[in-house]
Amino acid sequence: MPPIIQVKNISKSYTRDSFAIPVLNDITLDIEEGEFFCLMGPSGSGKTTLLNLIAGIDKPTKGNIFIKDTDITLLNESSLAKWRASNIGFVFQFYNLIPVLTAYENIELPLMLTHLSKAEKKQHVEAALNVVGLTDRMFHYPKQLSGGQEQRVAIARAIVTDPLILVADEPTGDLDKNSAAEILILLDRLNKEFKKTILMVTHDPHAAEKASKIRHLDKGDLI
């Protein structure tokens, strides 16, 4: 079976004051289905940039990215949005929950873009809540939750649509040791039990221990 993610000769540069600043240089990378892939490297090396390109929220300057059989670099903005909605689950360092929505409503948010019935949505949300172990907190608002709990809600939101790939940018970066460990166990479970392909960016060597594969970026080069 071909790799689920194929990054082919990707370059990315940002233009600032009409200077082109190269961030990624000719990256080629394969990630297999079911892998727990970990991307490490010093700050500013381009980890977030690469993750964003693979997740389809940014466009490369050069090169192609195939996810399954789709070259996502060829999709226009609105098809890319639809593609993300059904293929990618996002987990961010700072959780990025909507503060005026309860845990339940935050998790339900991606389902608003689907045609599921009310009952089906409820089923999905409750299943996701169950996986992250927060059924008893579903009516709490983000500010009533601890950082670890907020991140678990964020993970539930990421998996509620049952996406192909889960991307996580430093998901433990803002958490204490214990909460971080819980999140890693949860991600590991999603990988092993639910067969999710996971692409995680981290600084933390502990976090990387769970990974099935680790690659390093340095100044825009994969080493």
């Binding site: 609105s78 993300r84 909605a85 503060p99 005026v100 929505l101 409503e105 339900e108």
Partner: protein, 386 residues
């Protein structure tokens, strides 16, 4: 959950800010409603005019009288169906602050020429018969608790002396714009007394009201009337009743124009207030919009979200403002002397304009934040530090 719920929750995220903005919109709508009501009240005299009536007055000024003898001459002009006349009597009723129009008129023809003053046949007949009688508008009767048979004493100023008139009829307004604050009595009665006291002033009439058969001929007929009295020592100026009423407003038209402009300036200011609130809110939510875009929400979702929020605030503010405008106008109507603004009511058009204004404010205020949210690249949104 429906997107509407999120719209609502967003609108009230900062309770105090939303409350103040809503209050601002409400106050603006109230100010708009009151100003426009005053403006329309001012114009009500013009609105109440009839196309088939001309007014003939002294050419130099309305304050100079015309001879009674003109009546028959005007009556002869082709196209004229009826002629009546009136004089401004003024005088003081109770005290100087009780202001309403008091006219000496031709009792025989007045109510034929003004069919919008509704008077029962019986009352009209008694009024015509009794020389010292008068008819008052319904609003005046209500305000001073007057009924048929009561005597209204007037202290004369233009026509000096004490005058007493017995109420023999109370007329009702036919239209919303009809002035129901007038007091009408016999010109003959006044004239007889003037004949004895100041004979040189007898036989004077304030102005003539000429009913014509075909309103489209009003220009021609006016000219024919005025030609009759060319080179006499009391030349006339005849114009449509509408033009006549407007000439009264000419001196105050600058104030009215200012009020008119002001009413829209207020709307403009409140647009800036809500616009500012929306821009602040949307800036704070840059990251959230980035998250929603990441999840797959499209441009139209964001438009709905932002415009919806803006509309929720403007609609609540507008509705609150309109709800409060009604009792306020009613209260003002009570304290403003009846005769000053004979009709002081919120016009449907004012309500429509205020609603349109509130809705447009809602839409317009959201445009800049919408444009910003749509233009924003997701990665930039995540890097944004508000």
């Amino acid at each position: 959950m429906k997107i509407f719920k999120l719209v609502f929750k967003n609108a009230f995220r900062h309770k105090l800010r939303s409350f103040l903005t809503i209050l601002g919109i409400a106050i603006a709508v109230i100010a708009f409603g009151v100003l426009r009501t005053v403006v329309t009240a001012w114009y009500v005299g013009v609105e109440a005019t009839a196309a088939n009536r001309l007014v003939t007055r002294q050419a130099v000024s309305f304050i100079f009288p015309l001879p009674y003898t003109y009546r028959d001459k005007i009556q002869q002009v082709p196209g004229v169906s009826q002629v009546t006349f009136a004089s401004w009597f003024q005088g003081v009723y109770i005290d100087k602050n009780q202001f309403f129009a008091r006219f000496a008129c031709d009792a025989e023809t007045m109510f034929d020429v003004y069919p919008e003053f509704l008077l029962s046949k019986k009352e009209l007949e008694t009024f015509k018969r009794e020389q010292n009688s008068c008819v008052v508008g319904e609003d005046i009767a209500k305000q001073y608790k007057l009924k048929v048979g009561d005597v209204m004493p007037i202290e004369g100023d233009i026509y000096p002396g004490r005058w007493e008139f017995v109420i023999r009829g109370i007329y009702k307004p036919r239209d919303k714009t009809t002035d129901a604050t007038q007091m009408l009595f016999h010109w003959n009665y006044v004239n007889e007394r003037i004949k004895k006291e100041t004979p040189e002033r007898a036989g004077d009439v304030g102005w003539y009201i000429v009913k014509i058969k075909d309103p489209s001929k009003s220009g021609l007929i006016s000219k024919q009337i005025d030609d009759l009295f060319k080179n006499s020592n009391a030349e006339t100026k005849t114009e449509s009743e509408r033009a006549f009423a407007q000439s009264f407003l000419a001196s105050t038209s600058a104030i009215i124009t200012a009020m008119n402009i002001l009413s829209f300036v207020i709307i403009g200011i409140i647009l800036l207030v809500l616009g500012n609130t929306m821009i602040m809110s949307a800036r704070e939510r840059t990251r959230e919009y980035a998250v929603m875009k990441t999840i797959g929400f499209s441009g139209s979702h964001l438009i709905g979200l932002i415009m919806g929020e803006s509309l929720v605030i403007s609609i609540i503010g507008g509705a609150l403002g309109l709800t409060l405008t009604f009792p306020l106008i009613q209260g003002l109507e009570k304290v403003i002397p009846k005769g000053f603004f004979p009709v002081f009511e919120i016009e449907p058009i004012t309500i429509i304009l205020a609603s349109i204004a509130a809705l447009s404010i809602g839409v317009l205020s959201s445009l800049s934040p919408i444009q910003r949210a749509l233009k924003m690249k997701i990665v930039e949104g995540f890097r944004f530090v508000g």
